[in-house]
């Protein structure tokens, strides 16, 4: 007799799942489109790319080791990157960490003009024309910002425009133990 209630119970469970998912989406705790990076806690992918601002010079990720740094993926074609630019400028001053820019599939002349016009928050800018480095870092939409520890481990990743609030919540806590992983 009770087995006839099975469909109702099963459906109620399903409804519960949906309600739970909806509430978490509403609270901002669940984003069905956002992919958590599998790189967190792993070694930052190595790269050797030409510098945007000083073309013959190569930027080697190995040279960045020893100090924590921020990697910001951007492009002049990306509207949200333009929106986050002021926050990046502020971050360059206040965070105490170098921001390495990864100019993703961009026109070099456009990029240089962009930085000249809006200001350059980057300690160095690497130009990824082929896109291989972006793939290695698991980038799927600019802007994306990574925090890398002194010993080259990816500590955190933020997808979308960065801000003071995001910095405080997501990135700053990792620096409490001296920027080591």
């Amino acid at each position: 007799m009770w087995r006839y209630f099975a469909p109702a119970v099963a459906f109620l469970a399903l409804g519960g799942l949906f309600a739970y998912a909806l509430m978490r989406i509403d609270q901002g705790k669940l984003d069905i489109r956002e992919i958590q990076s599998p790189l967190i806690g792993k070694a930052a992918p190595a790269f050797v790319l030409p510098s945007l601002t000083d073309p013959p010079h190569q930027i080697d990720s190995h040279a960045l080791a020893g100090k924590p740094y921020i990697l910001n993926v951007w492009g002049t074609w990306c509207g949200e990157c333009r929106a986050e630019h002021p926050a990046l400028m502020a971050l360059a001053r206040t965070s105490g960490l170098p921001i390495i820019g990864l100019d993703w599939k961009d026109e070099h002349s456009d990029a240089r003009a962009y930085l000249a016009q809006l200001g350059n928050p980057y300690a160095e800018v690497a130009a990824d024309d082929v896109g291989r480095t972006a793939i290695d870092w698991g980038v799927y939409g600019a802007p994306e910002t990574f925090l890398v520890s002194a010993d080259g481990i990816v500590l955190a990743k933020h997808i979308g425009a960065i801000s003071e609030a995001v910095w405080e919540k997501k990135f700053a806590p990792h620096l409490k133990n001296g920027g080591r992983s």
Partner: protein, 653 residues
């Protein structure tokens, strides 16, 4: 002023729908004749006001009233008239109004065509439909009104999604929604039966034509969507197992199972609780689909406004109707006893097995669709479940189903003594296999994959098997009753569909190339030559058009244009493919981009048998139509009040 009339009309419709629900359900429960008598009038009233609201929205589109937010978002001064009308259902809010319109239309049809139903039963059916209407009207009025104003009014609109500016796609939602909404009729019949506590073969006889009608629309709606995806989206695909596609396919599978289960209940009075469960299941899947694509819990190419608060409202509706009806089922089902047996091999057992396989398919699609959400919601990681999984998994119930179909349709009730049929079927089976091998050699130059042969053979076998009885009767100079003829036609359509799917999946050829004008390339024995490139201006777009000449063995097969359009308002580039249609294949050319050096990238495809997919679906739908027109469903002038005897089916007119 006029848009506010639309809102007013919807409010009035809501009140009348509430009256329909109350007087129908309470009136039947308390046996108040005067209350029940009001219901048909309420149904008509709801319909009138919903049509009014719909008309107001359509009017706002046609006269370019950009003070209405929904119009401003979905239309444009340059948008052709047909698409201005179709834009009414082009996005979330308007599509809900379409849903409500079709729901009230179904209710009107039920009210008009079921004079011979017992009054209390009919009142309950209409009452349930009214309740569903109330739910949707509340949802639309409170969270998704199409009549909200834009202050100040826009000078020009944003334009209708260019993908929707197409006749097939304009027709697709109305067809599809007629199907979706139609599942609520079978649901209403089921709930009415459960409320009254009586369910017998007569009930099945009344429910069946409504179910077949909604199935018919669903079939056509899905086929239209698939066909449209093929020729508009440019990559030549026709099914992607996208959540929205699954949202329509699952109710289709459930409704198919329901039709077959109703056949047994009508004939033998058996499988009553299965039939009830399937009716609830079909409607649930329909509502679930609505929920999934509008709430934002799933990623889909088709996703409407993703808004968690709207999602919660629909979820509440979903839980109310489904858990409510399933609880009613749990209470009533144990009392539904039926007598009757059948042999291990009989029509009944074939049908039961058929339904088991259909439900398995629907269940697998549901699990595949929801598992990523389940994992994500509980932070267990993010996975994707897509075509590779669904294609493989669907074959697990799918292949046995099509193999058994050709035999099952000849099984007799109670005991399937196939007798002389057995020999005929064996011959046809062998013929099917031979033909399949012939086809394989023609396309592939060899036997190819065993599964392909099995499916092609099954397709031919089903087609031939379905024609046995109609041909036999025709030879005897007799006519098959329409219900049986409809069944034969529908099953024949399944065979055709199967040939289409198997052919295109097994033997299609795709090639991406870059060509400059004058250059040519070859696939599947056809030569494609890029003739020239020129510019074209459309009503609301500008395009680069390439002309491609296709030849085979030196003879011209077709000259196809293919365009890369840029819609002036939207500025989104869109590919318009060129398709050469033939009796056994499609040739498909889609223009890509200017890659420099005078060359343009293109995708060329050879799609054997692809048209049979939609042809098969259309034939299935025609079969359904034929079956509904069977004389035993004719609305009788003489009221058979309370005549619910199982024997009613015997009175062949």
């Amino acid at each position: 002023m006029i848009p506010e009339l639309g809102t007013l009309a919807m409010v009035l419709a809501l009140l009348l729908a509430a009256a329909q629900a109350f007087f129908g359900l309470a009136g039947a429960q308390l046996n108040r004749q005067s209350w029940m008598a009001v219901v048909p009038a309420a149904v008509a009233g709801v319909w009138v006001f919903v049509v009014l609201a719909f008309g107001v929205l359509a009017y706002s589109f046609i006269v370019h009233d950009f003070s209405v937010s929904y119009v401003a978002t979905n239309s444009n001064l340059e948008l052709p008239l047909l698409y201005r009308f179709a834009a009414v259902w082009g996005a979330h809010e308007g599509s809900l109004l379409l849903w409500i319109l079709l729901l009230s239309t179904w209710a009107l049809l039920v009210a008009a065509l079921s004079g011979q139903l017992p009054i209390a039963f009919r009142a309950r059916v209409l009452g349930v439909l009214g309740l569903i209407g109330v739910g949707f009207l509340l949802f639309t009025l409170f969270t998704s009104s199409p009549f909200t104003r834009l202050m100040p009014a826009a000078a020009d609109g944003a334009d209708l999604n260019p993908l929707l500016q197409d006749p097939a796609l304009a027709a697709h939602p109305p067809m599809l929604y007629m199907g979706y909404v139609g599942t609520s009729v079978a649901f209403a019949f089921a709930v009415a039966a459960m409320l009254s506590g009586k369910l017998d073969a007569g009930w099945a006889r009344w429910t069946r034509p409504w179910t077949v009608a909604s199935w018919m629309f669903l079939t056509v709606g899905i086929a239209l969507g698939s066909w449209w995806a093929y020729y508009v989206l440019g990559w030549g695909g026709w099914w992607f197992w996208d959540p929205v596609e699954n949202a329509s396919f699952m109710p289709w599978l459930a409704t198919t199972a329901l039709i077959h289960s109703l056949a047994v209940t009508e004939k033998r009075g058996l499988f009553k609780s299965w039939t009830l469960l399937l009716a609830i299941f079909a409607f649930s899947l329909s509502l679930l689909g609505t929920f999934l694509v509008r709430s934002g819990v799933l990623v889909s190419v088709h996703a409407f406004a993703s808004d968690p608060s709207r999602g919660l409202f629909i979820l509440a509706l979903l839980i109310f109707f489904i858990v409510g009806s399933l609880t009613l089922y749990a209470v009533r089902a144990p009392t539904l006893k039926s007598e009757g047996g059948f042999e291990l091999v009989s029509r009944e057992s074939f049908l039961l097995l058929n339904n088991a396989l259909l439900i398995t398919a629907a269940g697998l699609i549901l699990v595949g669709e929801l598992w990523p959400l389940l994992m994500d919601a509980f932070d267990l990681g993010k996975i994707s479940v897509g075509p590779p999984y669904f294609n493989m998994v669907f074959m697990v119930p799918g292949v046995p189903l099509v193999v058994l179909l050709g035999i099952g349709m000849h099984a007799a009730w109670r005991r399937a003594l196939l007798g002389s049929r057995k020999r005929q079927l064996l011959i046809l089976g062998g013929g099917g296999r031979a033909l399949a091998r012939r086809v394989a050699f023609a396309f592939f130059g060899g036997p190819g994959m065993p599964l392909t042969i099995v499916c092609l053979a099954a397709g031919f076998f089903v087609m031939a098997s379905a024609l046995i009885e109609p041909i036999e009767q025709w030879r005897k100079g007799q006519q098959l009753p329409r219900a049986a003829l409809g069944m034969a036609i529908a099953h024949f359509g399944v065979g055709v569909w199967l040939l289409g799917v198997t052919g295109v999946c097994s033997y299609k050829v795709e090639k991406d190339v870059s060509l400059a004008p004058g250059e040519s390339t070859e696939i599947a024995g056809y030569t494609f030559k890029f003739l020239e490139m020129h510019k074209v201006q459309g009503p609301n777009y500008d395009a680069d058009e390439a002309r491609i000449l296709i030849t085979k063995g030196g003879k011209t097969v077709a000259e196809l244009p293919t365009q890369k359009r840029t819609y002036r308002v939207n500025r989104n580039p869109m590919t318009h493919a060129g398709i050469s249609v033939g009796p056994t294949r499609d040739l498909f050319v889609a223009l890509g981009e200017n890659v420099g050096g005078g060359k343009w990238s293109m995708r060329l495809q050879y799609k054997p048998f692809i048209r049979y997919i939609w042809l098969g679906a259309v034939i299935m739908a025609l079969g359904g139509l034929t079956a509904i027109l069977d004389r035993r469903y004719r609305v009788r002038r003489t009221a058979e009040a309370g005549a619910f005897e199982p024997g009613a089916a015997r009175k062949a007119v």
